[in-house]
Symmetry: C2
Subunit: 355 residues, 2 copies
């Protein structure tokens, strides 16, 4: 059986880390005898927008839905296309239209990477953020009134549904139950965001009745971010709304030393549509073009993709490969964000060889 | 001239730190010959709610508006009153009805306090969060539809106005301009929250035209939280919407070692209504009743209050007093959150003596 994978580098450092993601994928496919068909696409990028006036071709849905997975780099180039145009015209469409309602983001302190937190060792930080990925604060409902005048009012609605909330909570409880600590933390803000979030808390409690073995706690998002810094060891599985999950899944990886290594899986658990795998870091205009972006986020995303496609052992091998390279700590190989002098390609090649 | 101050301890550790806040205030008043009239109130607490079925007396607005300032402890006791009921019934009313549209929160690494961040010294972290304090994501507009059924939908509106946004931006630009670095950072999320936040970005740019000397940058809230941890030295003045400011002003103090020391000023700059001064930490049910809460957040809030009332030099003296006690680092005096074995009262007395 051949896995058909759509490969979309996107913008900025997405174009730089994607070749290394592909290199790792191909190395793994070869070593483990997996048949992969990789189909590259130039759309869902601001370059494509410059040429076509839109981020995606009209038939993108038909094209992509035939694939088993989408392997994405990063999107966004605010110098030429406003972020909300590029993002709502690509990634956020994929998440919604392919109903990738789980955004799963591991957050783990890796060997050889220095945490900005004092005295934290590998093992101390090891949790997942499970983020709702299709609704909530990321709605497109609202607008401007009295535009351009002193009376201007701008409204945007947060929309949460029981359908959308319960399914992400279920996923998070299942994940927590499958892990040794069996601990779930809910991100809330029911003291201030007094309509949606108290309801979110109710749904968390209600779903918890089916998982008596999972210990649940909850923190308001403000103190939760503080606790990520002060007590990252408290967390096992953290479940959050779309916006809160977005925040926590950048902050968590920052606490592990760099967001350059963090991967994410945008999953449609039913398999009705392709799932999408991408690094957390984004297009990073500030370092783009210099060939120094850390490719591990992209490579770890490849590992998550292979796991999703049923190749657990291959996924483990890829993670072991970059962990080994990190543990060696060769400054000539590591990228600058993790204390080295290497390039994207040097680090990517070192990992591929290890696989 | 006598300053009339309403003193509201509230709930949990609010009741424990308030006596130390008052002690510091009185010590300062005595030393500098300031006439203070302190009027204690038991409302705006969950104890009051238990007795009266509401957080505030009906005539709270008339009572409090006669004061020159409100000195608040903390509110919230979720075991007996849901947070959204206690908060919307007290603090959030004060902020709105007294049009305290600026929430100003200094974030500074103090001598003698260990940052959870590796290798950060006093001086490395020193910025302000300027938070919009009356509108935005903290709206009370929205509701539940198809309640209690599988089709349940819950909606909450974020409402931003030009009036409300421009005035907080103006305050933030003025503050940035008055500081040596003249740097302003805007917290946005215009790539995902695609209606209100692109508009926020426009207002930031528009207001910036009046402050050509202020260097402005912006980060999406996700990577901004990451940068608080990775690069806290980048920031000077950070301006944010109500929710983002709430998050950043807990995370920032966490990066400085403890949220127990962080103060906040809820300011009505025109002086039409009393401004309100409170520590950032909240009622902290987990440590309440043990007498170990750090009183510095409350005491620093007293300093901000006296500054607001025109006593800049007294404010400086209070800050110098607790900085001196911290720098001494006597473990018998410091509270547990900053590595000591002292109590709220011991630390409070040590600071009052110093004043
Ligand atoms: C208690 C809560 C409603 C409040 C807020 O979110 O504003 C608090 O976190 C704060 O920062 O003052
Ligand atoms: C680019 C942006 C719209 C996106 C998000 O907010 O979801 C990104 O930050 C992410 O976390 O995948």
């Amino acid at each position: 059986m051949t896995h058909r994978i759509a490969v979309i580098p996107g913008d900025g450092i997405g174009k730089e880390v994607m070749p290394e993601g592909v290199r790792a994928l191909q190395a793994a496919a070869e070593r483990f005898g997996i048949a992969l068909e990789l189909a590259p696409f130039d759309f869902a990028s601001c370059d494509y927008y410059a040429e076509h006036g839109q981020m995606l071709p009209d038939d993108w849905f038909e094209i992509l839905k035939e694939f088993d997975a989408i392997f994405y780099g990063a999107v966004g180039w605010p110098e030429t296309v406003p972020d909300h145009v590029s993002l709502w015209g690509s990634l956020l469409q994929f998440r919604r239209r392919f109903d990738q309602y789980i955004n799963l983001r591991p957050c783990r302190l890796l060997p050889g990477i220095k945490s900005p937190l004092a005295n934290r060792q590998p093992g101390d930080i090891d949790f997942y953020v499970v983020r709702e990925n299709t609704e909530g604060e990321y709605s497109s409902v609202g607008g401007r009134m009295f535009e351009g005048t002193e009376r201007e009012v701008v409204i945007q609605e947060t929309v949460m549904t029981r359908h959308g909330t319960d399914r992400v909570l279920k996923f998070a409880y299942e994940l927590a139950q499958s892990r040794p600590r069996r601990k779930l933390t809910s991100a809330t803000k029911s003291n201030g965001i007094a309509i949606t979030m108290p309801w979110w808390d109710e749904r968390v409690a209600e779903m918890g009745r089916h998982y008596p073995e999972v210990a649940v706690d909850q923190f308001h998002i403000d103190i939760l971010t503080a606790n990520f810094v002060m007590h990252p060891d408290w967390f096992d599985v953290v479940v959050a709304s779309n916006l809160f999950g977005d925040i926590l899944s950048d902050l968590g990886p920052a606490c592990t030393g760099t967001i350059g290594v963090a991967p994410s899986a945008n999953i449609n658990p039913e398999g009705t549509f392709p799932s999408l795998f991408e690094p957390v870091h984004g297009s990073a205009p500030d370092i783009a073009g210099r060939g120094i972006a850390n490719p591990i986020g992209q490579i770890w995303s490849a590992a998550m993709m292979l796991e999703h496609l049923g190749h657990q052992e291959v996924s483990v091998a890829i993670v072991a490969a970059f962990e080994a390279v990190l543990a060696e700590g060769d400054e000539g190989v590591l990228t600058p964000d993790i204390g080295g002098r290497g390039t994207t390609e040097i680090l990517g090649r070192a990992i591929a060889e290890r696989i």
